[in-house]
């Protein structure tokens, strides 16, 4: 298949996928297509959608590709949708940020950092699928450890945890504690 032929195929696959479609998944479907041609095709497709006459764009998120509305049309889409817009409290967001940067992390560590009890925040985040339980820590009491989910990446438009903002600063901060 040529690149021109491949573009609509890839487009239909990404469109029909419920969750972000990973390159691996795409390659599994399009077995005979070399990987570099595939990513080239995706780049072409992305460029196509950047056109001002398009309301959606191809984004790379949570390790896959997904069509999303362009941010500038958020108000219009919001008018149509009955569901409430995504809302999250500052406290929940802080908790989420701590989990995102320090995962896997136990409840006590989060509380230490925030200086207040978490109460229902963790449950709220678990409920929304932003956070998951990531096993138990082998310390007395065997507390649950928490980590972020793929949904977290999707919601915040991140491709992977490495693309978290200011992670570098964080790493720098972590180092003296470890040393």
């Amino acid at each position: 298949m040529t690149r021109e032929e491949l573009i609509p195929v890839v487009e239909s696959l990404v469109f029909s996928s419920q969750r972000p479609l990973s390159l691996g998944r795409l390659a599994a479907v399009l077995k005979d297509v070399p990987a570099d041609l595939l990513s080239e095709t995706l780049n072409c497709l992305r460029a196509d959608y950047q056109h001002w006459r398009r309301g959606i764009e191809l984004v790379e998120v949570a390790g896959g590709y997904q069509f999303r509305t362009k941010p500038c049309y958020a108000d219009w889409v919001g008018l149509m949708r009955n569901s409430k817009p995504f809302k999250i409290s500052r406290a929940a967001l802080e908790t989420l940020a701590i989990i995102a940067y320090k995962q896997p992390v136990i409840k006590a560590e989060i509380e230490d950092l925030r200086g207040v009890e978490l109460s229902g925040l963790l449950h709220q985040l678990l409920e929304r699928g932003l956070v998951r339980m990531a096993g138990k820590k082998p310390v007395p009491g065997r507390p649950f450890m928490y980590a972020t989910t793929k949904t977290f990446l999707e919601v915040f438009g991140l491709n992977d945890l490495g693309s978290l903002p200011t992670l570098k600063d964080w790493e720098e901060l972590k180092a003296p504690g470890a040393g």
Binding site: F15, Q18, R19, V59, Q66, F67, R68, T69, K70, P71, A74, V77, R81, S83, P85, F86, K87, R90, L93, E94, L96, A97, I98, A100, Y101, D112, L113, R114, G115, L126, G129, R132, M133, T149, K150, T151, E154, V155, F156, G157, L158, L164, P165, T166, D169, W170, E172, L173, A175, P176, G177, G179
Partner: protein, 242 residues
């Protein structure tokens, strides 16, 4: 905004300097902290109160930095482990860490948030399908536990069969019946029972009657099948029966 610092060999926010100083990535003796404070005070307009916010952010890291430097300058006492000194700085580090979280939160908020700034196709919402559909990949122990406890809740409280032990005994009933018959020439079975009676009460009463019959103290009469059972003391057998 964090206070931006520009001194010899370093340019950036103050708390970053503190982190670097602590990691000994930067020579704390290479520049004058007094100059740093002076520069800061120059920037701060005390009369108008401008930059007060920045001043607040400046104070703790600056104080920690001065403290850190003073600690290095003083001769270390014997037995004063390095660990202890590290511990003293931890609250400051925690403070900086918390500042970092706040920054992280801000930058998370600035992302194109799905469902707020950007949208994707969503089957479960737009098709009006009831219930939440989970991708199998995303199902974890939390969902499993939640489903289980939800199921438990939906079962409602476990049905409890409460058995009240009726304390009524055959011997007691015998006494009561004899007492009743002593003042009444004849009673029917229903009259022997209180207004509210249990099945046990009924059975015990019947057993008591049978016992009284066996002892030849009473006589039972049932005029027709399924009819009322009449109870007479033996002493007062109605004539037509006798």
């Amino acid at each position: 905004m964090a206070y931006m610092l520009e001194v010899d060999g370093f340019k950036g926010p103050l708390d970053e300097l503190l982190v670097k100083a602590r990691k000994k990535l930067i020579d704390i003796f290479s520049f004058s902290l007094a100059d740093m404070v002076k520069e800061f005070l120059d920037q701060l307009n005390l009369e108008t109160g401008d930059g007060m916010e920045t001043a607040i952010d400046f104070l703790v890291p600056a104080a920690s930095l001065i403290y850190l430097k003073s600690r290095f300058l003083l001769p270390r006492e014997e037995g004063d482990g390095g660990e202890e000194g590290e511990d003293e700085l931890d609250p400051i580090l925690a403070f900086i860490e918390y500042q970092r979280i706040k920054e992280a939160v801000d930058s998370l908020c600035q992302q194109q948030v799905l469902g707020r700034d950007v949208f994707c196709r969503s089957v479960s919402e737009d098709d009006g399908q009831p219930g939440q559909v989970y991708d199998l990949e995303d199902v974890n122990i939390f969902h499993l536990a939640k489903a289980f406890f939800h199921l438990l809740d939906s079962l409602g409280p476990e049905p409890v069969l409460e058995l009240k032990l009726d304390s009524v005994r055959v011997s007691d009933r015998i006494e009561q019946i004899t007492a009743l018959l002593a003042s009444n020439p004849g009673l029917n079975f229903r009259q022997l029972l209180p207004e509210q009676y249990s099945r046990r009460h009924l059975v015990v009463t019947f057993l008591a009657l049978l016992e009284l019959v066996r002892q030849r103290l009473i006589l039972l009469l049932q005029p027709d099948p399924w009819g009322e059972i009449m109870v007479f003391p033996v002493a007062q057998i109605p004539e037509e029966v006798a």
